[in-house]
Symmetry: C2
Subunit: 149 residues, 2 copies
DNA sequence: CACGATTAAATCGTGTGCGATTTAACTAGC
DNA sequence: GCTAGTTAAATCGCACACGATTTAATCGTG
């Protein structure tokens, strides 16, 4: 095993800070694009999932986003208030709430088509570089989540 | 230039989501370590800066963290309430507030010595891999921040 | 069938992030 | 040396995150 750092490193050397600040930088870049559609970034992530597969439970959405109902319930209620989704208890299991797109929610996908391209341009990276970085980060994230257990 | 994606990709393919979720995973890993010291993760980032150089203005701290006074002022007030820093107007320029470590704040650095090592272990990466990923993310972040102008 | 254990959402409180505005202090130009 | 413009913090409102708890529904075992 390599040596762990002993002295306190400087801020720019923190991998955690690089991830933290890059996440916020993405959020700032997305904000004006999504604001035009009436979405926040976490709301956009929920919509992306519903566009891929409609009629999902809160738990299923949260499982892929690594978020729980304490965060998702109010977020989805705001999506409902905006008219993009409806929420209803699953008749087969009343514990679960199923989230379903409205016509307006489905229509939003067309407007969102240009968003990934805009973000891609701003990264200044090639598709290969993006894929590698995404893979590396995903691996790291899964290790961190496993280590926290 | 490479082609930008046209169809809406799936969630795991989003680089932004990889950064977003990795940031949260780091936060969850840090939480129990920092909680024992009475800090949150953003508060820890401020303390790391003050340990490197004491007596900084809110603006200087925010410049390196990419945060503004709307976020930092209440955060630093909580650090003050916890007894780790003091805040006082700079006599030479009363617009600025200088943040200074207390004895308790300086003492906390010793307790924090083990934190980077714990995080390093959890990443499962080598120092080289960490440095490369940190560099790649920092480059990306700076491009995103520049693009948002 | 009963009943304790488990599961899914919702609720609550605290602490960020951040756009927008406000307040106070400095600076520049006349 | 006065005033317009700029700068630094602070304030305000809203939307996440998340630990902890609560509520309601289902499951498992006898």
């Amino acid at each position: 095993m390599s040596d762990a750092p002993t002295a306190m490193p400087a801020l720019p050397d923190f991998l955690c800070f690089a991830a933290y600040s890059t996440g916020h930088a993405f959020n700032r870049l997305y904000k004006p694009l999504l604001e035009a559609m009436g979405l926040t970034y976490p709301q956009y992530l929920v919509m992306v999932q519903l566009w891929a597969e409609d009629d999902q439970t809160v738990g299923a959405l949260g499982g892929r986003l690594f978020l729980e109902s304490n965060t998702l319930t109010p977020l989805i209620k705001r999506l409902e208030a905006s008219g993009f989704v409806t929420r209803r208890r699953d008749p087969a299991d009343e514990r679960q709430v199923r989230v379903v797109l409205t016509a307006a929610g489905r229509a939003l996908e067309a407007q969102a088509q240009s968003v990934p391209g805009c973000i891609f341009e701003a990264t200044g990276l090639t598709l290969d570089e993006i894929q590698r970085l995404t893979r590396d980060l995903t691996t790291l994230r899964d290790r961190l989540l496993a280590g926290g257990t």
